[in-house]
Symmetry: C2
Subunit: 708 residues, 2 copies
Amino acid sequence: MKKTVRIASAAAAVFLLCAAVPALADEGMWTLDNFPSQAIKEKYDVEIDDAWLETVRLATTRMGGCTGSFVSPSGLILTNHHCARRCISRLSSAENNLEETGFLAGSFEDEAVCPGDHMSVLLESVDITDRVAAAAEGKSEQDAKEARQQLLTRIETECESDSETAPTGKLTCETVALYNGGQHFLYKYKRYNDVRLVFAPESPIAAFGGDPDNFNFPRWCLDMTLMRVYENDKPAATPHFLKWREEGAAAGEAVFISGHPGSTDRQLTLSDLKWERDVVLPLWLLRYSELRGRLAQYGTTGDEAHRRAQSPLLGIENAIKVRRNQLQALMNDEVFARKQAEEKTLRAGVAADPKMQQAYGSSWDDIDAANEAYRGFYEEHLFLERLGAFNGQLFDYARDLVRAAAERGKPSEERLREYRDTALPRLEQALLAPRPIYSDLETLQLAFSLEKMREWLGPDSPHVGHILGSQSPLSKAETLVGGTRLADVEVRKALWEGGAEAIKASDDPMIQLALTVDQDARALRQRYEDEVEAVQEAAYEKIASARFAIHGTSLYPDATFTLRVTYGAIEGWQEKGKKIGPFTQTGRLYERTTGEDPFRLPPSWIEAKDRLDMKTRFNAVATTDITGGNSGSPLVDKNGHLVGLAFDGNIHSIAGAYWFDESMNRTVVVHPAIMMEALRKVYKADRLVRELEQTEPAAGEVVLGGSR
Amino acid sequence: MKKTVRIASAAAAVFLLCAAVPALADEGMWTLDNFPSQAIKEKYDVEIDDAWLETVRLATTRMGGCTGSFVSPSGLILTNHHCARRCISRLSSAENNLEETGFLAGSFEDEAVCPGDHMSVLLESVDITDRVAAAAEGKSEQDAKEARQQLLTRIETECESDSETAPTGKLTCETVALYNGGQHFLYKYKRYNDVRLVFAPESPIAAFGGDPDNFNFPRWCLDMTLMRVYENDKPAATPHFLKWREEGAAAGEAVFISGHPGSTDRQLTLSDLKWERDVVLPLWLLRYSELRGRLAQYGTTGDEAHRRAQSPLLGIENAIKVRRNQLQALMNDEVFARKQAEEKTLRAGVAADPKMQQAYGSSWDDIDAANEAYRGFYEEHLFLERLGAFNGQLFDYARDLVRAAAERGKPSEERLREYRDTALPRLEQALLAPRPIYSDLETLQLAFSLEKMREWLGPDSPHVGHILGSQSPLSKAETLVGGTRLADVEVRKALWEGGAEAIKASDDPMIQLALTVDQDARALRQRYEDEVEAVQEAAYEKIASARFAIHGTSLYPDATFTLRVTYGAIEGWQEKGKKIGPFTQTGRLYERTTGEDPFRLPPSWIEAKDRLDMKTRFNAVATTDITGGNSGSPLVDKNGHLVGLAFDGNIHSIAGAYWFDESMNRTVVVHPAIMMEALRKVYKADRLVRELEQTEPAAGEVVLGGSR
């Protein structure tokens, strides 16, 4: 392992003896190159070797903001229903509502293409820390940031070009900064652009209990979907896959989760934690609670409105639950005091060594000063550049079309990062995917966000005048949504292909708005990058170096939506003095149903009741350390067999954004027993049952799936 | 001045020399018995004598959560449009929307009765601290609380009975605890039960700028209304009134505000400030932001829905702006540190004297322990007892009818406080006032709040099962609102008069629900009173005594919706380095209008533009220390002449809940010049102009209005 700057010193070594190194509870989202196999062996008496790690890696997929896993050699993927929701919603219509009816492909031919979806698998990762450090060496924070960005773009581009002639075929290459910039890696992914829907249960059973039960346990959700990747219009061959252990893991048994945790903030400085607590979370929660109300009320106006509102509403409700519990976590004085003590200790460790103090000592204050600077334009940056003023799909299209047209005229390295060559295929696929656009919903969202812009920037802000003129947010949104033709994929295609000329010639009002906003938005972005991001990146890199110097490699990096494996055991917890067991069973599901959303069962489950074993395990919890992005992750045993499907955490897992509490933080999974029973007895999905049963290991067999 | 317990000691005296006694900035909502005339004389060279205070007191009225003032000898009252909104809304209908058209009575006969409104004037206040202290002496916290409550009820009842034969006629008597229970007073009010609407401008000009401009300045709102109190169907004689000084006060001139500030929390302990910051404000903001979204979306479904949503929506938007800025204020580390230092200093002062330490030393920890206890049932208490689960008017009726029927069977002193004999006339008037009930709006609010109850208590809470059964919140609300007959005033009257028998016999579903909830709700209330309120009242009383012992009478009590006078000067402030002047003028109003809500002018103002002087002063700011409840307060000069009508504070005034910052905190008033000009030139309200002009003092005349 390498770091950009590392100062090993006697002071650091001595300090190590007395510093509070994070205890190795079942904590950590570990990269595969630094997996704590030894600690696991000591705690659980289980050997995890490289072959295990390789198979798990190659069987783990990434899609949207989710994870999935191959569960057959023919490209069959198990993930969550809520991870496939975008596909399910795009394949649905008023007449054919797959949320309500579920979906089961009777044959390969019936498997339905998910518009715009793609799936990746990590093939390789390469440490590029030294190259990145060299590029930034001796430069100012702003110049270092720019040089680093250019180098990373170049490395990605080279990697993708090189792969075109390699045996793997064309790869997707992404660089990633670990340890807040303490390490840089190049990750190489195989990418599947043809993803199809194979099986989805009805939403009422997939998300039984809806928002009230979300992040709760005990729980009864069949939050599963089967999808399949295709190559050349045929099911892809996926020799690395997870065999299915239908009886699941026993209470207390060691288990693992492989996946792509999105983001954690466990290494944030106190200043940044306060920034989250005082600025980011309150403003977000106020805005989205109100939007939630608007969508919910819109959803009461008719069945079709109800259907249309579901997908955005569920997303927002989930995010609100996350963020309000994050806010709660940050308001916990006790834990805040612990964070304070940790930071004090680390800073004292740095201060104890004059060389470290010289190199890293100002980092915490630098971060704080950048936050103070950001305070002066946070709302403007959020609303104009970060789209806070422009909710909905249509402005997204307009922004991307306008910016891509301008950026593609420059060399890849000099563009805004999201328009570099290696990012364009994804962008093009997203822009040109056919998908339903509901103008009433678009108007609602855009009017709302324009109104919030006016509320937070103030009616006399020049930005507000520039964007709204003398119109109200609602009438402006109606004008824009009514007048734009961007809902038409052919119109988007023409603008995409026509580039700068086409954009210039366009009289589309949404394109016009994106152009109107662009200069101010870019200026705010530049200001943010120079005054905040560059300063904080440099400071965090220094703090990471200080941590390496003091703690060595006993740490894991914050989550970055890249592949991690975490470990733990099947285990309940104590809640207000009451013991909560690790499993639920089917029987209680039927007791809890009320016949009304979100505690309503679909007809298939009512009809199947008598055929089901009321003692079948339904959901389960484990002490594994996961976060958003791990949705759809496989829960795996020591043999690499699938023993669950992660779909949630308990309420205490939300504080996991900032710290891991082994006594309370739990992963919630769908149990393999109920998945198989449902496929057999509720859905009669014989074709899929056969495909999955083929992979079932014989009793006592311990080999991994795949060509080992 | 008397206190319940007072320990004068050498330690306290010495301590006084070094303690940080709050500086006499323009800070303080002063009671009239402790008015800082000397400090005012020193700072502004202005004499405020008892006659001034008496006239101002007798000219100041209280209504709803607002203030007003007599501006003629014939019962004419000036208050805010937003204070009369309930009346205006009740007098409006789809066909005759007074929000949109405004209202002007051409004669006394046209003045329209405001259903359910009443108006009070403070005649006298009596210190009863010693009697209250004696009743509680030597008792446990819970017993002391009960004994105190019983005594206060008895004092109020006696006062009202006695007044029946007195020359004043029947009075309304209310006890009030000042200095968090450090003093108790009996306040005697003359009450007017016949309040009529005389003049109201259109909402678009009364609240020009709407929510975006709310709490902002510069500002252009004609937030005024004229009402009149009647006795025996004739305009009441009100010899104490404020004369009108149309040119207003000059920049820098000393000014005063008389009124009923509702509530401040400047004496809260750190534990309680954290309780607000971490528990109360976030939960409230989440719920009401969502409700705001629901109401706003409902309002887009048609003109009538828009009209119906306005009144609740404006109230919620205002409250959200207040609370989110309160939360922001409490997240200000610097100010929190100052509070921390103040508390530490006070506690050190107490600890320095063994007697004080013995008597008061545990108070801060007692408050904290009570908050910890409250954490365990805060949500249940909020949703069940404090109506968090039952938004809307109909359940309010049901709760009051059910509880009043049960409570009226007991002696007045033993009842829940809000059903004591002296409170019943107000309650009866509110219950039996005819007012429109919109079943769609009631359903929206009730469904929403039932859903929030389920969200926060959890779907498996026994309360939730008890209330919802197997229904969803929406279908439960539809059942209740569709089935209840409580919207009919005759039905309410029959239940009110029929008492316990009638309630028992009722099959009204809303009454049934109120009965279903009552036992649990009462139990939660009892628990709250015993475990939280009694403990904290006792502790705050001790802290108040400690403050008296250390600071003497140099302090003012937190606001309690009782009469206070505050002082200051007409003065702008510095905002981010920019100077904001104290006045606005009419010209800029016309520049800011966009033709769309909330920056739309009503037709009358568009039509009158050419007749108006664009330099007329419109709104103004002063350094006076006010808060919610002061809306409608007169701004008065040293001669007792009216020089403005308070209707808002600037954004910094919101932190005034916790501390006063003279450099930033400003009161926003409507200038008398624009009020008179609007009455003359926009509304041609000649009758009212004459009535007000009569009261205009001759140039140089300095006598007060009234019989001095």
